[in-house]
Symmetry: none
Subunit: 347 residues, 3 copies
């Protein structure tokens, strides 16, 4: 393989796969979590590849670990039998992290129809394989123009700030989530739809180095958010968007992972679900359970023909739920304003 | 996390998961084996967790290995798209084993309907991770009352006795099972429906320590019993109950596992299938093939609307089949009598 | 997507994926079957896509079904943690079939090392989705030169002839294979290593239209061949090559598939294993069991450092084994001669 080819493959990557029955719900809509998992696999490959290319330097080998996923919208649903195409590209490199931008397209191989289903930006941090507590240095990339580097740097600074903020918030929260008791909980309350999944981490969930793939975690998160949404709406529900997700702590093989979701906000058209991931080292129990990730998922409700249905209003109980609802409303209005601004800018 | 909460999670556990296409047959009925596998995963987590909690003692780390599952009835079918809730609790601890009691509920997240689908009791034995031939000591548990401990001890003694008995029976039997030859076998004979599955154990089938999860074995057993029942009935067949299963010998990664089933008894409403699991270490062949597990599965036959259909009578050939039929009839009548007695006691 | 891009994606495709523990043996060598399955997934996507692109014609939608895989060599081993890159391209179209050529590369994303691990050519036939017994017409492709079309036509005629020949051979053979009995079989005999796998076809094994993916079948075939080789050699064995495989009959969801392998030939450096796939429709038993596929796999034996080990000589018993050994020797010598000729031509 010649030098130019090698560079071409080093900075871009394509993954594709046929969507199967297990990737989708009963109506045939592919789970948002399946797509997030593919996105992260592409990001992990290209990120790890880049962080290990430093000709001339005798550097530690390293593995790129997912640190953050920016907010992403699911623009169109994908269906069983379609082919998902994921294209990833490295778009910014700081001293200790890389940004990977990813596009996802669905292709109906029978009709030839293709649709852009979503875009995402992921941040990876390289860890030394010899000492997993060491963050290694990221080789620089070439930018097409100084403006591109400038833009990337702004995105880098912005996400760095946000990551610090959520770190605080994660520490604050301690929420015991159990299975909902429908005999004592009233329909449309937060308690009625609150849900958890518990999963024992196995070899296929992990990288070679024994850490859970970020994509595996996001798939579980989407699954629990989907259960909350289905319990609330009792219809065909699909992922509409995922807010930025920060991965503060790694999860190791052999952990039991508890993923919990609760409704925080509902407009007429969509509902927001907060998801918590706690990891519990099964055998080394003295290390204790810890909060690994949190995120907000937004779901919409569809009828059997795929047309949007209104979301039943939430019944709020207590000050905490009221406060989280107001916070969710703020996020909802901010996103709406941002979408409108983006639209206007494009016109 | 406070001390009381920590104790709460240490002695109880909830797992839930949406049922997928791969979990069910073509009609959408979730396989009994899928449920058994979830039950065992919950038991393995809670058992391993408990056996590693011994404050103040410098003990070997250990993994809880399934030793026995008590007889369990499948009270209601579960369907694709429903959520299976598995709750596990440690209910008795002897010096070298723990009893885990498990409840399974199905939840239709669209209608909100929930049903108790089955209950099970499992026995686990902890093995040292440093030396897998060492059984470690089980930390004591607190009982709500002396009566509870007493009851647990009775169950412990009863299962201990039964495990010794089946050990005998397992040694006796050596049955070569191959694929049925329909050109020479008559319909409704034992030979016509006799079936096997052969599976190479992979990493995902195993615990961190390279032993096959008991749940994986039970899923294969249910799968082969289902094939026997389908070949006999040619209808939609579902698992009605599983007799007590004893796991005499562990199965390691890299084994080829042969799971064979044959019809032993049929009443008008149900049929009983005996299942054998033999393990063959692929490379260390000198160790030889060994019988790892045996069990009896009971199946019922349903029409497409889920209504029970009569089971075609079996055509028995030879003394062995006749004897096993009589034994099966005895088990059938005993279970029927026990169910009636339980019912009367509850009234 | 512009017109030119659309054409570009229509005739070429790239798939890539990180290799996981489940894709490999205990030593970390990725199974040949895993690679064959990826190759077939790429071929199925590009073949189905092409057969449904006929601008202006109101044609039935169709699915491309694997009809044949040409002989393929595994040039280098692939390992867990490496990324497998599969590139597929349509290289010939007859009236009712397409040829897809596939390249596979392994990439070590830590060191950046890449290797071509194998090349394959697959033939697909499109079936109408409205009537699965109807073969539809294949849209023509554009060739870079008349010579290319000519070459393709020659390959097409050659494989057509070979497919007819093996159809004969498949009809002849009817071999019941059961698990080997080591108490009666002597080491290094055919009977000692003869093996089977039996698998119930599930939703994830199938296309949307309920037929088993050719790649799933090939993965099972490689798995059983690997068991035979491991039982014979008792070492780390890896797939070296697969002879041309013809898929004479489709396998449907709900079938029980028996895959059997037996040693046919061994040189000092490699051994050949013949594999048979029989499908048995579970419920519609009147249709009866049928031979779906046969093939020859060649394995080599490696030590723990990956260096080749000699293959223990086979102990032949009976005329049949002797005859098959001679046939295998012929194939071995022909392939050796062909490889030498190819090498000389390239120099």
């Amino acid at each position: 393989m010649s030098g130019t080819q090698s560079q071409a493959t080093a900075s871009s990557l394509q993954i594709c796969r046929i969507m199967r029955p297990d990737d989708a719900n009963i109506v045939g809509n592919v789970h948002g979590g399946t797509i997030l998992k593919m996105i992260e696999e592409a990001g992990c490959i290209i990120g790890t590849r880049h962080c290990n290319t430093q000709p001339g330097l005798s550097q530690d080998r390293c593995a790129a670990q997912l640190a953050r996923v920016e907010r992403t919208d699911f623009l169109y649903p994908m269906f069983i039998g379609e082919v998902a195409h994921v294209s990833a590209e490295i778009t910014y490199a700081s001293k200790h992290s890389v940004e990977v931008q990813v596009h996802v397209m669905s292709e109906n191989i029978l009709t030839g129809a293709t649709k852009m289903t979503n875009r995402a930006a992921l941040w990876y941090v390289p860890f030394s394989l010899e000492n997993v507590n060491n963050v290694t240095e990221v080789p620089p990339i070439k930018y097409a123009s100084p403006g591109q580097e400038e833009e990337g740097k702004k995105r880098y600074e912005a996400q760095k700030m946000e990551r610090l903020e959520t770190k605080e918030r994660n520490g604050e929260l301690l929420m015991p989530v159990s299975a909902p008791d429908r005999t004592t909980k009233e329909p449309y309350t937060v308690g009625f739809s609150q849900s958890s999944l518990i999963h024992l981490v196995g070899p296929s969930d992990c990288t070679l180095h024994g850490f859970v793939h970020g994509g595996v975690t996001m798939k579980l998160m989407d699954e629990v958010a989907g259960i909350v949404a289905a319990r609330h709406c009792k219809t065909n529900i699909v992922t509409a968007s995922v807010d930025a997700i920060n991965f503060h702590r790694k999860i190791m093989q052999g952990c039991v992972v508890t993923v919990s979701g609760r409704a925080t906000f509902a407009s007429n058209k969509s509902m927001e679900i907060e998801v918590f991931v706690d990891a519990d080292p099964l055998i080394e129990a003295e290390k204790g359970k810890y909060r690994a990730v949190t995120a907000f998922f937004t779901y919409i409700s569809l009828d059997m023909q795929g047309k949007p249905l209104p979301i039943p209003p939430m019944k709020l109980e207590g000050d905490g739920e009221q406060r989280r609802f107001e916070d969710g409303k703020m996020r909802y209005l901010q996103n709406k304003a941002k979408r409108l601004a983006d639209k206007e800018r494009q016109q």
